[in-house]
Symmetry: C2
Subunit: 499 residues, 2 copies
């Protein structure tokens, strides 16, 4: 079926919105990677103006007319067009559900809270940021409440849907409960097994930043990143940004240890490869975007955790590291790298956690943020609830709030409903890897030659090229034959840490 | 007088437009300095969408109402407000004078022509690009013709006014004619004097790019550039971009010779210091912007040509260069640096020209572009007219069109009326330097210590902080007591090259 005028106008409108988003994305990269500090104030204004322009394009009166006309025209049985139109409608519904003064109040409250949080974290002073967080929570509850009736979800689900479409708290709750049970058994076993194994030998630096950077670039190229469409830079927190034809990944370097830089680069390369593989035919359309934050995390983690920390890949990586840094070869033996990079440890900090304990950090946040949104938990009671919750999950208690409820920026910047994406992504990565291994016979043989192309080919066909046509569970069903099934993740952990 | 609601709305509107312009400026810097080649197509779309959004803000129906209301309110005798309102009106008048289809046709024609020009220049094939340039000229004549009645100027003046407000061809023609006469006498004299002087000794490289870059940064800092609000990067063509609180300058490096890199950096530093010194109180308002392209060029050239190539500054720079690069000290003797960097030569290429012959290149283009716009010169006759004109001015004839009428991008990208700014800027720089020397007794003493702050303080007070409040000649009158007077430039050249 040919496009109708109404649908064509929507395509133009959403392409314009997406192009404004590309500008914001590039300016966001610039701010984090290269901007001199004096540019910060103006950059905030620039991003706010772009956000306002995109919002105006989306919520314009004409959008409703164009949507109604295109929906009346039907989609001629084209699933891409149907999905695109549904996503356009969803974006419009969400954007128009919120009064402008509430959106503005939230932007101001988030910005104020996030600023105070930086100091509060540095001094581990929750009371300093508490009133700001109370205001943020008050407004996010308002927003969840305003979205809920128009999208037909609970307030928390309405928020979570903004990060990963099609995932509900009711789906996540039993998955996380089952994982808690698994962890209670698996973690002590993994620790005991680890205690019996030889201690890992740490490579001794310094490792020149230049050598690390060259290696990171070579490694990401090897994984499939094409630098005619990409950059690798440095930032305080590694991230992947930019646009599908110009992806920008970053990492950070310390001379004493190359581990962090390299593992961040392979993680961000996974994100970048997803963006690079999105369907060109639907570029700048909602259906041509990545399928959500959990789907995105599945792509970074399948590269970092599933592929690059596999025995096969480490057997290729060891000699590469030795060639790059020289010195004693013992630390670069693949078995030693495995012991170094696949180590479980009960810790306070989510971003430093291993793949087995990481979900505990997410489960804690998932439960607490639901209670904050529902009103069952007062902000004032957050530090205590945090410490109790972490102790129940991992048997440890943070010595201070900096290593407790102040550690992550997310809530202090207004992001509620985001945290589950990390663990849903980790579970999806294991499930996708299991299916890919069955479908692609030479996958591990490739990894043992430092060649990820067999895996990447499968991901491109089954995940990247699907854009946002399918929701999270539907994407997994199409790729693996079933919706999210946490058993594959548990099987992966069992094989790697208890096998 | 307090702001009125109409004027307040205009301030918000123009701040929004300027902020969109900042986004474009940053993305333009990114494209030239760091973007991977694969990002080019999307970047073009991004810049086009931003230009469209800014244009829509400027030409909205509400703008006319707001302008009428603010003009009716009066300006309460505030010259800044009066100038701002006049500039707003002028921007609106120019933007609404042109039908959208003409603007789009021009953007397409310029883009097509510029692409073909790159090949045509490489193969010195004017006939290849001729039809494209004919279309560009046809459209720019239309545009000049459409602007002329609404701004009350001739078509060429209307175009030139878009680059440097308040300068007319009738002002420029006698100034350039007088310079032609001066040059006919001065150039042979300078050549004869140069022939009698010792030959300059060229420093022998290679000069490491890292050492050059470190020196360039140190030098620009020394000249007053604050890197908490600036960056120095590399690009094929050096330029200054960014925004007043985040200026981005670039240069290019070759190992064999550091001259080009250093002189480009001091030139771009002059542009950047102007942006940094614009009045904060009028940031993102028309009156808070730089006073035009000729004014901008005066600020780059007062730093590069007047300050940094002065005897005083070279006496400081010589030892700095020797310290940076080592080797034989003879080339770094200030007198030798003067012979190297202040050398006249009849050449074909404008961008390589010395300060005495540079105006000849501009005079040639000024005359030819007026004839192209008026229709007195057909595009087909351009190569011949170019070669005849250059011979009349400098006594040399380009061996091919690549070194003739194909050398500059400007016309092939639709820029007519821009070229005079270069020489008006050079003349203004000499006039400002003459006035600054009188007003600031320790100016040259400062330069001989590598300290430009006495000069910079005077420029900040008399030029930078004035924004766009005054037109080009009014700015010069306020700073130097007279409108543009080419005698100061001739006196400068006489002292430097014939003294």
């Amino acid at each position: 079926m040919r496009n109708t005028p109404g649908y064509d106008r929507l395509i133009d409108r959403f392409a314009r919105i997406a192009t404004i988003g590309e500008c914001s994305s590039m300016l966001g990269w610039d701010a984090a990677a290269v901007m001199p500090p004096g540019g910060g104030a103006a950059r905030g204004d620039q991003l706010a103006v772009l956000a306002g322009l995109a919002h105006a394009q989306l919520t314009a009166a004409e959008t409703a007319d164009e949507l109604a006309a295109a929906e009346a025209d039907g989609t001629g049985g084209d699933p891409w067009r149907a999905a695109n139109l549904a996503l356009m409608r969803q974006a419009y519904t969400r954007a128009t559900a919120l009064p402008a003064d509430l959106v503005e109040a939230q932007a101001r409250a988030n910005s104020a809270c996030e600023k105070v949080w930086r100091d509060a974290k540095a001094t581990s002073s929750f009371s300093q940021v508490r009133p700001y967080l109370e205001e943020v929570v008050r407004l996010v509850r308002h927003i969840g409440g305003a979205l809920a009736p128009v999208v037909g979800l609970s307030p928390y689900d309405a928020l979570m849907d903004g990060y990963q479409r099609g995932v509900r708290a009711a789906d996540v709750t039993p998955i996380f409960a089952a994982y808690e049970t698994f962890l209670a058994r698996a973690l002590p076993e993994a620790e005991a097994r680890q205690a019996r194994a030889p201690q890992p030998i740490r490579p001794v630096g310094p490792f020149s930043i230049e050598a690390q950077e060259a290696l990171c670039r070579r490694l990401s190229e090897r994984l499939g990143l094409d630098y005619t469409h990409a950059r690798l830079d440095r930032s305080v927190h590694p991230f992947s940004g930019g646009t599908p034809t110009d992806v920008r990944i970053t990492t950070r370097y310390i001379e004493a240890d190359f581990t962090q830089a390299i593992l961040a680069v392979v993680h961000e390369t996974g994100h970048a490869l997803y963006e690079r593989g999105l369907p060109r035919d639907y570029a700048r359309q909602p259906v041509g975007e990545a399928a959500g934050m959990a789907a995105h995390e599945s792509q970074s983690l399948i590269v970092e955790m599933q592929a690059c920390r596999s025995d096969a890949f480490l057997s290729w990586m060891g000699p590469e590291l030795l060639a790059a840094f020289g010195g004693d070869p013992a630390p670069y033996h693949p078995e030693n790298l495995g012991r170094l990079w696949r180590r479980v440890e009960r810790g306070f900090i989510r971003v430093d956690a291993d793949e087995m304990t990481y979900p505990a950090h997410v489960i804690l946040r998932f439960r607490l943020e639901q209670a904050l949104i529902s009103g069952d938990l007062a902000v004032a009671d957050l530090p205590g609830a945090w410490n109790d919750g972490l102790h129940a999950l991992l048997g440890i208690t943070p010595p201070d709030d900096a290593r407790g409820c102040l550690q992550d920026i997310h809530w202090y910047d207004g992001a509620f409903g985001y945290f589950p994406s990390y663990t849903l992504g980790a579970m999806a990565a294991a499930q996708l890897m299991t299916a890919a291994r069955k479908a692609v016979p030479d996958l591990d043989a490739g990894l043992s030659r430092g060649d990820m192309s067999p895996l990447l080919g499968w991901l491109r066909a089954n995940v990247h090229s699907q854009g946002s046509r399918l929701g999270f569970n539907e994407l997994l069903r199409a790729a693996t034959g079933k919706p999210l099934d946490p058993q594959d993740f548990q099987a992966h952990l069992t094989a790697r840490y208890l096998g």
